[in-house]
Symmetry: C2
Subunit: 205 residues, 2 copies
């Protein structure tokens, strides 16, 4: 097999021993080849055997890296974005109120969605009922994370319901903005659509 794969990749793969490096390399390679196959052949038409073979591992080993086929598609977004949202929100201590804090946070993070793969991934996420459902669950997770961050920033048990409502509204605006962004084929940056939808919500209540 191939010995050292320098792997400049997006983030550093410099740390740990041989084991950890290999693990990360395998993980990245499986995710990358899997995504490519999904884009080329569709999600359902891509079998685990195809992914395993293309990634140079055995079928059985695949499951030491991902617990399902879906996870290959969702891994990055599902892992990175919630953390980024939480961290981003916790930096908003200077705000006196949750709503403007959440908005500023989302405007900062919106650009994370503007990657070249976004469209292809979203197409895939709409291609089956199970994946569409996962996408919804992902947004619900964001609501959860955002609400909890607010609870930490403005600790007051009687405010938690309000925090959840605000988080729902904020993530709702994000969803609408991303829909618009894709509908208009990324004509403007995501932040632009976010602003548009914000003005809608603020004129309503």
């Amino acid at each position: 097999m191939s010995e050292r794969i320098p792997e400049t990749e997006t983030g550093q793969d410099q740390s740990g021993g041989l084991r950890q490096r290999k693990r990360r390399e395998n993980h990245n390679r499986i995710a990358a080849t899997g995504l490519k196959l999904f884009i080329d052949n569709g999600f359902e038409a891509t079998t685990l055997d195809m992914i395993a073979e293309a990634a140079g591992i055995s079928r059985r080993t695949f499951f030491h890296y991902f617990k399902s086929k879906e996870e290959v598609l969702l891994a990055r977004e599902t892992r990175d974005f919630p953390d980024a949202l939480r961290n981003g929100m916790m930096k908003m201590r200077h705000h006196v109120a949750p709503w403007p804090a959440a908005i500023e946070c989302l405007l900062t993070l919106a650009s994370r969605y503007e990657t070249r793969d976004s469209f292809a991934i979203d197409r895939l996420l709409r291609s089956t009922a199970a994946l569409r459902a996962r996408k919804c669950a992902f947004y619900e997770e964001l609501e959860q994370v955002l609400g909890e961050a607010m609870d930490e920033l403005w600790p007051a048990p009687e405010q938690q319901a309000a925090h959840r409502v605000i988080a729902m509204a904020a993530i709702g605006v994000l969803r609408l903005a991303l829909d618009d962004w894709r509908r208009e084929s990324a004509m403007y940056p995501v932040a632009h659509y976010l602003q548009n939808n914000l003005s809608v919500i603020e004129s309503q209540f």
Copy 2:
């Protein structure tokens, strides 16, 4: 093709020929026995063979009635509630604004959730990641339906974004209310928790 389909709708199973009656009976029986098995043994531990045998049909025939195991669990809610929501909303013509219309509609429909099976079904819907995701998707469908009803009631293309935001907020409040209702083991009717959460949202924006 089928000639007369009297369609008594949700209620009586009196209509149609022998074929239609049998079909409905089988459908109901599979759903009922399936749900019972899910409650008793858990969703994953219940196999299609168990359901088929308990319902007195062959495994293969199961798939002429439901396209997946999940559908057995989701069939009723996913079919009835969206229609009820749409119909309920269309009756709110006398309202001048979407938000109070949606709220009155939800307050009317809330009692639909107060069935004896609600708790058991919800427990099941939380038991696996796939089912949790389906539940989210269900609420998203409600948002969609509600938003479209508003578009029909107050036709104005430039208002559609506002309608979607209002629908998201309304369904969001419903979700929070149902969570509260279950958390407090149905101490008060759903409408009570709905009112509580409404006051939260209306004090925020």
